[in-house]
């Protein structure tokens, strides 16, 4: 096959995708920079030298000359929390982008299939039954996955072919059902003890995230992230009409199931460990589309980078801005909603 030599710009451009090198460099470097800077932020003051010295020392198992408090702040309090933010931010953004692609609708968020409502119910139930932290996380994960399984089953009623329309409707039903159950739990919960705990949990927080939590969810979220990266180009095809997509040679049912599995694992695991963090899965894909375009081959990795940075910066605010911890959903909404409005005003609803 001859390359098309008469198109000069084709021959001249080594980068066929059209993303400028500078953009790629920024997308790779930005998370690293924010990651490093985040270690220096927090209510407790640790000097940059101490931050560096502690991390270096831990990495190479050197004896520490820094006070125990400083070491604890860096290694126990900030490190796992920062990593969790990167992981969850990246995962939720990628899941949001993948689902928006699969449904062909830019207004979709990871909650659309009911996973957050299910996970929220699992956690609320566990809190009501005075379960341990482990039980809360496990039940959130379990019910989050159950909710999506129910959604999928409903979408296949009456020989339905789990077309995206049926999935959306089924997701609405499942979400409404589990939200109703959450309301019941809130109603019967002791208003002084259980109810505030449930409410706060549902608002999302990265507080007290531990290395154990990371061990538990990193493999799950990581699996989902890797899966979406592998599938990213095929998301372009999934975004087309059913017959068109089939005619290009993919098995749309199998592909959709894979996307749903990856996105559900990411979202359920995220919710189980830090509650419901809204707006990230909805807004970040839009921002990334403006930066790198709608081609999912570039969009998915861009969401990984931008989503990680976004949630990390938001959580830095949540834990450092004032003496009290600000719930994540409040901040993501306060920042996300006006920004989304700004995006709409600039783009006029055209997602280019």
């Amino acid at each position: 096959m001859d390359p098309v030599s008469h198109i000069e710009s084709w021959e001249a451009a080594p980068k066929r995708h059209g993303i400028p090198l500078l953009t790629k460099v920024i997308l790779v470097l930005l998370p690293l920079v924010v990651f490093v800077l985040s270690f220096g932020l927090g209510r407790y003051n640790v000097s940059p030298q101490a931050v560096w010295g502690i991390l270096w020392g831990q990495a190479f198992n050197l004896p520490s000359s820094y006070p125990g408090t400083d070491t604890s702040v860096i290694m126990v309090l900030r490190f796992p929390r920062i990593l969790m933010c990167l992981l969850v931010g990246a995962g939720l953004s990628m899941a949001g982008a993948a689902l928006q692609g699969m449904f062909g609708n830019p207004l979709v968020s990871p909650q659309i299939l009911g996973v957050s409502a299910g996970a929220g119910f699992g956690a609320a139930l566990a809190i009501l039954l005075s379960g341990s932290i482990f039980m809360i996380q496990t039940m959130a994960l379990f019910f989050g996955i159950c909710a999506v399984a129910i959604t999928y089953a409903i979408s296949r009623f009456k020989g339905g072919d789990s077309s995206v329309y049926m999935l959306v409707l089924a997701g609405v039903i499942t979400s409404a059902f589990f939200e109703a159950l959450i309301s019941i739990i809130k109603y019967v919960a002791d208003p002084f003890s259980k109810l505030p705990t449930i409410t706060y949990w549902l608002l999302g927080s990265m507080a007290n995230v531990s290395w154990q939590d990371l061990m538990m969810v990193a493999p799950i979220i990581g699996f989902g992230i890797v899966g979406l990266i592998i599938m990213r180009w095929r998301l372009n095809i999934l975004s087309l009409d059913d017959d068109e997509a089939r005619s290009l040679g993919i098995n749309i049912n199998a592909s959709r199931i894979m996307v749903i599995i990856f996105c559900t694992l990411i979202t359920a695991a995220s919710v189980s460990v830090c509650g419901i963090v809204g707006w990230v899965g909805l807004v970040i894909p839009h921002i990334c589309r403006i930066i790198v375009g709608p081609n999912h081959k570039n969009l998915i990795p861009a969401c990984l980078s931008v989503g990680a940075v976004y949630l990390l910066m938001i959580d830095n605010l949540a834990r450092s801005l004032v003496s009290t911890e600000i719930p994540l959903s409040i901040l993501t909404a306060l920042v996300g909603a006006p920004f989304f409005a700004y995006l709409l005003s600039k783009s006029g609803g055209q997602w280019s």
Partner: protein
């Protein structure tokens, strides 16, 4: 023993004489119905008879306060379910065993079901002073509503106002007056001693409200925590946040309190703090932990963190923990025994006393006590 009882009676008698001048309820002597009082919603209430059927729909510590103010719970026909849970996991169920049989079903969440309540045929209901709908609804069906205040930091004063109001409503002003006067007197004495503590020796104190492993809440300013700290001559480490505030571990590092007191709203015990039970938290670097100054607040007739009839004991216990060298003129166990004997007419045995001073996590897990 008899001598100390006599001395206590004299002291109480003197102070109650003194406080009669400083404003004990100005009420006509018993038998002269009807009379008018003012509740904590600012309403003028006419008391037209000796009530025999009393219910409490909100404000969790009120049943315990009622016991102290009137001497028994015989008139109670229903209480708030959260108060019931608290009763079962505290000394209240021991002091007034019949309380566990009281109905609680008329309260759903934060709402009082007036029709359900009416089935219990109460004559007077103690409720929240800001809940105008409930007050109006009760009065509309002929039930006397008495509004109770929950705002305030001065736990002794708040309890005193409750006891005074309950005493006026039930015609038990003397009984109520006794515990009010005693509480105020102890508070006064503690304040005086606290003033002698030099500034350089003042300790910072943090009240750990709850810690469930995921969220840490502390008692800030504008809450009873502020009162307990200041009255005994301490400084509230969490004063920069207000009410019950969610903070993270780093903020606690920044405060680095000298003393940590854990309330009975949480299951967390001092061992959990010393042993770093919760993976995402590291308490080991704090001064209070290194010095071994982490304590669980005792649990008496109700959780001592809030205004209760055991408020005097809370002051004495906390003060002795923080400044033992200044508050060395009493033995806390003796004080507790005497308090319970005088005001609840109950002689504590050793096991019960131990359970008060080192409570289990039942009250924090909202389970009924398994013992007794």
């Amino acid at each position: 023993m008899l001598l100390s009882v006599a001395i206590i009676f004299t002291v109480v008698g003197c102070s109650s004489n003194a406080s009669k001048e400083s404003g004990t309820p100005a009420v006509a002597e018993k038998g002269k119905f009807p009379y008018t009082i003012t509740d904590q919603a600012g309403r003028n209430i006419v008391i037209e008879k000796q009530y025999e059927r009393v219910a409490m729909s909100s404000v969790r510590p009120i049943p315990a306060a009622y016991l102290a103010a009137t001497g028994s719970i015989n008139e109670l026909v229903g209480i708030n379910p959260s108060s019931m849970v608290a009763a079962k996991s505290s000394m209240l169920a021991v002091l007034a065993p019949n309380i566990v049989n009281l109905p609680t079903g008329f309260v759903e969440g934060n709402e009082t079901n007036i029709e359900e309540l009416m089935k219990l045929k109460p004559e007077v209901v103690f409720c929240l002073n800001t809940n105008k709908q409930e007050i109006d609804a009760l009065e509309a069906v002929g039930i006397r509503a008495v509004g109770m205040e929950t705002n305030g930091t001065d736990a002794i004063e708040l309890f005193s106002q409750w006891a005074k109001l309950i005493g006026e409503v039930m015609g038990k002003e003397n009984q109520a007056g006794a515990i009010i006067d005693h509480s105020r007197a102890v508070a006064q004495k503690v304040k005086e001693v606290a003033q002698t503590i030099p500034a350089g020796e003042k300790k910072t104190i943090m009240f750990l409200y709850t810690d469930d492993g995921k969220t840490i809440k502390v008692g800030g300013s504008n809450l009873y925590s502020q009162y307990w700290c200041e009255t005994i001559g301490g400084i509230n480490a969490a004063a920069e946040v207000s009410n019950v505030a969610v903070v993270n571990m780093e903020q606690i590092y920044k405060w680095n309190p000298d003393y940590i007191f854990i309330t009975n709203f949480t299951e967390t015990q001092p061992e959990d703090i010393y042993n770093n039970k919760y993976p995402g938290q590291d308490w080991s670097n704090l001064k209070a932990v290194k010095d071994g100054h982490v304590y669980k607040i005792p649990l008496g007739v109700y959780r001592w963190f809030t205004p209760t009839s055991d408020g005097a004991l809370m002051l004495q216990w906390t003060a002795q923990k923080v400044y033992p060298q200044y508050f060395n003129y009493y033995n806390i166990e003796t004080e507790i025994r005497n308090h319970y004997s005088k005001f609840y007419n109950y002689n504590l045995n050793d096991a019960e006393l131990a359970l008060i001073l080192k409570p289990s996590s039942d009250a924090g897990s909202y389970k009924a006590r398994t013992k007794e």
